[in-house]
Amino acid sequence: MTGTRLTKGGRIDRSATLQFQLEGRRFTGYAGDTLASALLANGIRVFGRSFKYHRPRGILASGIQEPNALMTVGTGSRRIPNLPATSVELYDGLVCERQNGWPSVDFDIGSVFGLFARFLSAGFYYKTFIGPTRGSWMFYERWIRRAAGLGRATHEPDSARYDHRHHHTDVLVIGSGPAGLAAALAAGRAGSRVLLVEQDSMAGGSLLDSPIGTDDDQLRSALLAQLVALPTVQILTHTSVFGLYDGLAAGMVERRPVIQGVSAPSEVLHIVRANQIIHATGALEQPLLFGNNDRPGVMLAGAVRAHLHRYALRLGDEVVVVTNHDSAWSAAFDLADAGARVTVVDERPAPNADLLQGAKDRAIAVRVHTVATRVFGSNGVKALEVRDAESGAVARIACDLVAMSGGWIPTVQLTTHGGVRTVFNPTLGVHVAGPMAAGQSIAGAASGDPTDPLKQGHAVGVRAAQALGFSADAGLAPESAWSSVPLMTTRTSASLPAQSKVFIDFQSDVTLSDMHVSLEDGFESPEHLKRYTALGMATDQGKSSHYNGLTTLSALRGQAMGALGTTTHRPPYTPVTVGVLAGRSVGLHFRATRRTPMHEWHMANGVTMIEAGPWFRPWYYRWAGADVGSAYIEEMRVVRSRVGLSDVSSLGKIELTGPDVGIFLDRVYVNGFSSLAVGKARYGVMLNDDGTVLDDGTTARLGEHRYFLTTTTAQAGEVMSWLEFLLQTVWPDLRVQAVSVTDRWAAMSLAGPYARDVLARALPEIDVSNAALPHMGVMERQIGEMPVRIGRLSFSGELAYEVYVPADYGVGMWEHLLAVGADVGIRPYGLEALASLRIEKGHVAGIELDHRNTLRDLGLGKMGSRAKSYIGRALSERSELVDTQRWSLVGLELVEPAGKLRGGAILFAKDEPIQGHGRGYITSVTWSTVHERLIALALYRGGLNHVGEEIVCAYPLRGEQVRARIVSPMFIDPAGERLHA
């Protein structure tokens, strides 16, 4: 294999020279080259080392089918391993390296593995490395992991950008060979919108493998010209359909050209929702099985031909074309025409006379009824050994290139994604797609139908359009002298060679002898074989190995192909970059972000934010301290001694209107709401159907038929959907409208002894005196253009007000309150202080509301109305849930001043052994500025029956055990004097 670049021909642009580097060596290629063709033109023959035996490997195939020539392309944050060189388009400045060889691919120490091949066969790992001790595998594994793997990846963040596009189309045509072009043309002419997708860099499929100017080439140009003229047709090249999904959706990735210095997306994920899908995916040529069939210089005949016509590369001077059918002969003819000395070895006793005549015309030596047995040469081909099937005579043909073809199999991977099973067609000798699912059709070589692909494509195109109601004249099917693709025939066992180095899966290094061992071990179904030997599981997804595995299995087991079954093809059809799937949803855009109306103010005023689900909430402010541990305590002190302002806009807010809201809420909440007076609010708890607590919050009655309900930040969406579910499916008769107004209102909590003073001065138009607005009172007012809602609600135990204004007024009101309160020392406070204040008051929050606790567990048992039924009541009475030995909410105070209370500590009675599951655990901890010590909320078996007892809080993760005393969870103001002040 010399890699001679011909002086003319090919689809390369000799005027556009591109520089690139392989392992520090500089080369040039042309625009239109692939990395593979450019390297071949530069005389590179070894493209990598194999997975297991580290054998030198060259190019086997063209395009995405290539199993061997996986290369690492790019550097730094753009370094991508495992790219098939045959599908990488050459660009200026490309940097690449070969893989899996040490110290180099050309001289690889790992190739000693090949010497032990007879021991390393299928099942090897399951049978050994078991001892001597139980943990031995961990020792061996380190070395095995290093030897395995393909390329080396970098941990650096990816600097490439990826985009997403969505398409809605009438007809998606996958593949732009003759069938696909004809289908797209017919469907487009009929009036439907068509998306034609081609994974190659140009449309044309197999038509591209013929020289420019030939009939095939002219056909391609003519069809493309007609398609481009149709406004209804869009053509996407460089785009691989990697998967078909339910609902006739397709996932596809478009590779974008790399232009140095230009920032553009590297790849684009196209998600197509189609009404009809036409598969015109062609066929894949399969290797033949003979000894050392993996050597660099042994290639698929079609790939040899493609490299000749597309890249103007004659890859050998002395070529043996070895095959069992007609199609490979065209490669032989074309190579001879290009000046190579060619021998054809055909398994068949009597190939067609036209072929023999063609060979004779070109002085091609022909050996019929002859099979290849093995290749000589290691880093390249020196000779091919063949055997006369009749006489058994063995001969050696000197050569530098072997072009082989075992036939073609339909590309049906994508149809199986959609649930269509493949069935064996005994006439063709291959598996074809079974009956297609609704909305899908298949044409050309992919269908297994060997008749004219243009006619087939035209017919399915017309039918797809008609099924969607498009009936414009689609014209006649294009005419051409196109010869159909010959399909693979099932091999007989007689042709299976006995040598051990017959490769079936090149990339996974699965040989014929591995298959023998697999069957000997009893792994004889296609799925077991695949999993036991890794056959077909490499990056090429078995495109050149899966079928040879199946036919070999059939022969070895003496079982007909049809009775064998096959394995399932999984998406993606070709590997898909993780990055393109994620698109722009990376970094800070990993998930949507919700910000309160006062977000920018917080950012400008020294906040540290914390994530609360999708929300960013103020955690603490730097005025109070440099870290959360000191800041929240200062913030608490301000609230307890003066007044603080906190942003609570993330609370869920639901407006309920209608005559039956009271009845509805009575059913939803454990406590009653129909009895709530207008202008009053009430704390409510709702249960899940199973009796555990779903959520809590306050609900205000703003008018006779108008309620304003709040939820926790975490459960806002859940509760809204739940209320809608109940109203629409369970009680559609109730006259209630529910609207989420979470984003409409900015909400802030003004808390502390000076709260009323500040509020009164800030809103002089409104009477907020104790008489006008008592504890749990709410009012709705209008100040100029601005509506405002004020509720005297407190979770901190302080005199406190929640102030609601429309989102646009949020910052204004926030700044106004801070300005007015400046003289009394008002300060903003964050979530940490907010949560700590509620602990002091004994209010449960998210960490206690974890769907596992009942009303009683949370010390709220008395809230459950006895007078009415409510959701969750029935199942909350289940025996286990009313057991008094369940845990329930208690307070803890630290007894040892030096110790620490920590969330997640496990609780034990004072004198019992510290082991097992204990009697409960600490849910929340804070420093109490009132008691000047650490306090906690906890769930403890038997709950408040144990008040006054000293217990042990175990935190073995830090080797800590501290003593604490069980107290009421109401650490402050048990009588509510502050609240009502």
Binding site: D246, G247, R667, D689, S721, A874, E877
Partner: protein, 89 residues
């Protein structure tokens, strides 16, 4: 990608919807306090391999709760209607 024919908004990706399981069951009245009845309703499922009536809410659309009829062995969707219209419509 599962596509759901919302009777109000048209055919949309399932990701716009929230799923809520079996819609063929009859929810007991709140007046019923019998644990067994509620247990069976909340915890037991036909879970058929085949036609399934199920609740979906178009949360990113009209907010309507729908009943969708879908074959769980193929994901073939046959029809959808507003849940407020009752069990079958």
């Amino acid at each position: 990608m599962l596509r759901i024919p919302c009777p109000h908004c048209g055919v949309r990706d399932y990701t716009e919807f929230r799923y809520a399981g079996d819609a063929s069951k009859s929810r007991p009245s709140l007046e019923i306090t019998d644990v067994k009845t509620w247990h069976d309703h909340v915890f037991l499922f036909d879970n058929p391999k085949g036609m399934h009536q199920e609740y979906w809410q178009h949360v990113q659309g009209c907010r309507q709760w729908l009943v969708l009829e879908r074959d769980t062995s193929t994901n073939t969707v046959s029809r959808a209607w507003f849940a407020r219209q009752g069990k079958s419509s």
